[in-house]
């Protein structure tokens, strides 16, 4: 009887401990010391956050979407350092996203439940949706009160959208809108398997680019030469999403939207010409990894000569056992490669209880110094327009030809900034566009049929 009572008491105590263990704050361990980037390589902070810290300590949670454990470690370390640097603010870093939990889906669910972090990262295409639904804070007043803040410190493309005021259609400093600050930028390049290209006897794309001869024709020649090496060797490979196919449309002078981004332009003559050239790579010349197949395993296995991807693919490519480098995308009929300026931004939860502190954190996360540390991983390019930051980025090798990425976002290359649709719904547009383009590139739809019907459907994604 006594023993039964004892067991019951113990059981109850364990249940009570179970509850209390959940209530007690987790004792988060400091992240392991990661290999810090050389101090000399990282650019100095160009400006310190100027917002005054409040007198009382406030807890802030922030989140990004890291791609791997190395990035998680670096962001954790940055969080620890900023925690010490920002007076009166205690930071908790939450790496978001996993194989089973899509970053954005999880974030949306948490916003709906009211448990989203104070500061979080979102991709550029989501900014309009989040802003117009009132999910993220317009920090214009905080930015105006911040000494030294100007949108000109960052790349123009992202800042156009991050300072876009949907009520007045104004953008830039004084527009009355600041939705966040860009975490980093990126762009496409072609990852080259130099061994395959040499074996095929094709011209080195890097030399062609240096001589100004790197255009679609030269690209096709290299692709065909390497494809001829064997039935399992491909000249070119790209993943199946809007980024890779968009560049071909951009490079021929077309694009997804009209100039004012208020209607579909997929059926313009230029867009269709770009799409047709890309289709020919898959269907006529058969030089590309079939559209919809993941080309990365093939590239890493040494069976793809040119793999189109962003800077974020670099850490993974660094593990391959063949000679590789990168080159900018070939110039299209329009004279430019039609590349994208990819970006994502740190934004503030509209329901945060500490907007001032959250804004201070957003600024601290986007200083040149912080961006330099993250760039050292090789996954992205600093979003600040700073020669120091770019010089530091060039030292993070391999690839040897890091300049190819910077060429992609240089003003001469006229990159198109990844951007949200302020006059419509990007997810809706993408939902219609993606499968239709896939139909063309896999040969089940002709370019002509695509052009005839696509904008009838896609224009429904814009506000009627």
């Amino acid at each position: 009887m006594k023993k039964n009572l004892l067991v019951k008491i113990m059981g109850l105590l364990v249940i009570a401990s179970f509850i209390l263990a959940a209530c007690a704050p987790a004792a988060t361990e400091a992240p392991a010391e990661t290999e810090a980037p050389a101090v000399t390589e990282a650019p100095a902070a160009t400006e310190a956050p100027a917002t005054e810290a409040s007198s009382a300590d406030v807890d802030l949670r922030w989140r990004t979407r890291p791609d791997n454990q190395e990035e998680i470690d670096v962001y954790s370390q940055i969080s620890t350092e900023l925690d010490a640097q920002l007076d009166g603010i205690t930071l908790t870093y939450e790496p978001g996203g996993s194989e089973g939990a899509n970053y954005q889906d999880q974030l949306r669910a948490e916003i709906a439940a009211g448990t989203a972090p104070d500061v979080f990262w979102i991709p550029g295409t989501d900014v309009a949706d989040f802003a117009t639904r009132g999910l993220i804070l317009n920090a214009a007043d905080l930015a105006d009160a911040t000494e030294g803040y100007t949108a000109a410190n960052f790349y123009e493309g992202p800042m156009f959208h991050l300072t876009y005021n949907p009520e007045t259609a104004a953008s830039g400093d004084g527009s009355g809108a600041v939705w966040g600050l860009p975490r980093d930028v990126s762009t496409f390049a072609l990852y080259l398997n130099l061994d395959l290209i040499a074996e095929a006897g094709a011209a080195d794309p890097r030399e062609l680019a240096a001589n100004g001869e790197w255009d679609w024709e030269a690209f096709l020649e290299v692709s065909q030469a390497t494809r001829a090496l064997g039935s399992d060797i491909y000249g070119y490979g790209a993943s199946a999403w809007w980024g890779p196919y968009g560049v071909w449309l951009n490079a021929s002078g077309g694009g997804f939207f009209t100039e004012d981004r208020a209607a579909c332009a997929l059926n313009s003559e230029e867009s269709l010409a770009g799409l047709d050239f890309q289709r020919s790579l898959y269907q006529d010349y058969d030089v590309a990894v079939p559209y919809g197949e993941d080309p990365e395993p093939g590239f890493r296995a040494g069976k793809v000569a040119m793999f189109q991807n962003g800077r974020w693919a670099t850490p993974g490519v660094r593990t391959v056992d063949f000679n590789w480098d990168v080159v900018e995308l070939p110039a299209g009929p329009n004279g430019t490669p039609g590349n994208w300026l990819f970006w994502g931004a740190y934004v503030i939860n509209a329901n945060t209880e500490h907007p001032k502190e959250a804004w201070a954190l957003v600024q601290a996360l986007t200083t040149a110094e912080t961006q330099g540390k993250i760039s050292a991983l090789g996954a992205n390019i600093p979003s600040r327009v700073s020669q120091e930051a770019l010089d530091a980025f060039l030292t993070f090798t391999p690839p040897a030809n890091n300049q190819a990425f910077l060429n992609g976002i240089a003003p001469d290359a006229d990159p198109t900034a990844e951007g949200p649709l302020w006059a419509g719904s990007w997810p809706e547009f993408d939902k219609i566009m993606g499968p239709a383009i896939q139909g063309v590139l896999t040969g089940s739809t002709t370019v002509e049929d695509f052009g005839t019907t696509i904008c009838d459907e896609a224009n429904k994604a814009f506000n009627q």
Binding site: V7, I19, A24, A27, R108, V289, P297, G298, V304
Partner: protein, 556 residues
């Protein structure tokens, strides 16, 4: 005053207090209704209606309970216990919420995990104390020492455990939160409802209210059922009804939803069939392209019929889902039936094979899908590699020139859905095999013996005995596999990139509702899709039930 009359007086007082308490609860519920509609201006209407409904129920039942208690009727006790129990549970959950228990899951994982080894010490201490029961000794001194050591080991282990799970911090944090006004209300509610429950459960109270043994058994039955019942109501029936309500709104899960009536359903079901003048006539020439999109066209000769819909993705998803069901169900049921007959034999090693075939069913879908993604890769995947080897072997052997098809399993719209069907069938087959095996083992052996005596062959036995006797199992297997297939999602979501597949060839209903609800902020519309899916599944299951009832084989 005798002791008996004193007890009766006390009981009368107690029952009067209960009557007052029930009346007070009813009054509070009535006041709450006024507060909900007067003060909670920003609360969505559906929440106001829901809260009001609950308050009305509490008001009615509490008032009824007060009346019955005053009449010394056992029904008053039943009502009182039910309401107080629910009130106690609500206050307990509210207290946990105030103490931030529900958002402390990370802390729970981290803190509790650290304490588990020390819990082992406590268990060790407990077993030390048990030793004397298994190894009795005449030395009382040694026995007492062992008990003392056992107690101290248990205590020490438990203190270490509490230390490791950060219980002290937890208590301080929890109490700090409970010190807030909302926390005090929760604790106050816990105490009052708890006392009322305790008082009502007392035998004297039961006796005073003329409770019979049968009444007590009913209460105990409901009490045991309550955790499951409450879980069902809160986590299943509640969201189900809520999603039904949302399906009539424009909810985006964030802002207050607006009532839109049947708009969502109308959009889903808004379809048009139009005769075409020529097979290649454009949709925009025959339908209002601002409303409709072409889903497909049926052409014959120089004419055809265009199928257009306001939401073409729903109809594409329905088409793909039904195609998936049409192939995946037979492919995961018929081979399972054959396999179960083979595995039902008494050959050596059959248990091993049973386990092998069952393994895909218990493996994580995410892992399986990622492995298949590699296998299906058109350029470096093993499936195409072996097909190429096979064709080369064939060509060399017979000196022919069969062309390697180089199948693009997931990137060709003709094969993408097939790729998903293969995975689903492979994964479900093992589980169905086990179900069929269980059914086979329930068939009396005498039937087969009698059939053998009558000269029946293996095929006749299978057709005449096995299949009819397996009819209930087959019905269950087909029904559950169909329902499961109608809800296909994970394999598509992980395997395909993008998940919709080439030309929307793998978009399924659940995938589409997920996209709408969680990626496009269209919770209202997604709820409507979910209810249409429910109706489709319900319809299919109903047909299966009716067919089973009419089945002469089963009846016989």
């Amino acid at each position: 005053m005798t002791a008996q009359s004193r007890i009766e007086a006390q009981m009368n007082l107690m029952l009067r207090i209960h009557v007052v308490w029930r009346g007070l609860v009813a009054l509070l519920a009535a006041i709450s209704i006024g507060v909900i509609w007067q003060r909670m201006v920003e609360t969505p209407v559906w929440q106001k209606i829901l809260f009001s409904f609950v308050c009305v129920l509490v008001m009615i039942f509490s008032g009824y309970g007060a009346y019955q208690i005053s009449k010394r009727n056992h029904a008053g006790r039943m009502v009182s216990l039910t309401l107080d129990y629910l009130g106690f549970v609500v206050c307990f959950v509210f207290a946990l919420n105030v103490g931030e228990f529900f958002i402390g899951i990370d802390a729970l994982g981290e803190n509790f995990g650290k304490g588990i080894p020390y819990l082992g010490i406590t268990v060790l201490g407990y077993f030390l104390g048990m030793l004397e029961e298994y190894f009795p000794t005449k030395n009382k001194g040694a026995e007492n020492s062992l008990k003392t050591v056992s107690k101290w080991v248990m205590l020490g282990g438990f203190v270490l455990f509490l230390w490791q799970v950060n219980a002290l911090n937890g208590i301080i944090y929890f109490l700090g939160k409970l010190a807030q006004p909302s926390g005090s209300i929760a604790i106050g509610g816990l105490v009052i409802f708890g006392l009322s429950l305790w008082s009502m459960r007392q035998p004297n109270t039961a006796q005073a209210l003329n409770v019979k043994t049968g009444h007590e058994q009913i209460i105990n039955g409901w009490l045991f059922l309550s955790p499951n019942l409450l879980g069902f109501l809160i986590f299943f029936a509640g969201p189900l009804l809520l999603s039904f309500y949302f399906s009539f709104t424009d909810s985006d899960a964030i802002r207050t939803p607006n009532w839109v009536g049947f708009e969502n359903y109308a959009k889903i079901l808004n379809i048009k069939f139009v005769t075409l003048d020529s097979p290649d006539q454009l949709a925009r020439d025959v339908v209002d392209i601002k409303v409709y999109d072409e889903v497909g066209r049926f052409t014959f000769g120089n004419t055809g019929i265009l199928f257009a819909a306001a939401d073409k993705f729903f109809w594409l998803a329905l088409r793909n889902t039904l195609t998936f069901v049409l192939f995946a169900v037979p492919l995961s049921v018929i081979p399972a039936l054959v396999l179960s007959n083979i595995l039902n034999s008494k050959l050596p090693g059959m248990k091993f094979y049973r386990a092998v075939y069952f393994m895909p069913s218990i493996a994580a879908v995410v892992g399986i899908s990622l492995v298949w993604q590699w296998l299906y890769n058109a350029t470096i995947g093993y499936i195409n590699y072996f097909i190429t080897l096979g064709i080369e072997f064939w060509n060399n052997l017979f000196n022919v020139a069969v062309v390697d098809p180089k199948i693009q399993w997931v990137s060709d719209e003709k094969t993408a859905l097939l790729a998903i069907i293969i995975i689903a069938a492979w994964q479900t087959m093992g589980f169905n095999t086990v179900l069929f095996l269980a059914g086979l083992q329930n068939i009396p052996g005498e039937l087969y013996e009698a059939a053998t005596v009558d000269g029946a062959g293996a095929w006749n036995k299978f057709w005449g005995i096995t299949l009819p006797m397996l009819a209930p199992t087959t019905f269950y297997v087909v029904s559950t596999t169909t329902i499961q297939a109608m809800q296909v999602f994970e394999q598509v979501f992980i395997l395909m990139n993008p998940a919709e597949g080439p030309n929307n060839s793998t978009i399924t209903l659940v995938l589409y509702l997920y996209r709408s609800g969680f990626q496009n902020f269209q919770q209202g519309y997604a709820s409507a899709i979910a209810w249409v899916l429910f109706i489709v599944i319900f319809g299919l299951t109903l047909i299966q039930f009716q067919r089973q009832r009419r089945s002469s084989i089963y009846e016989s």
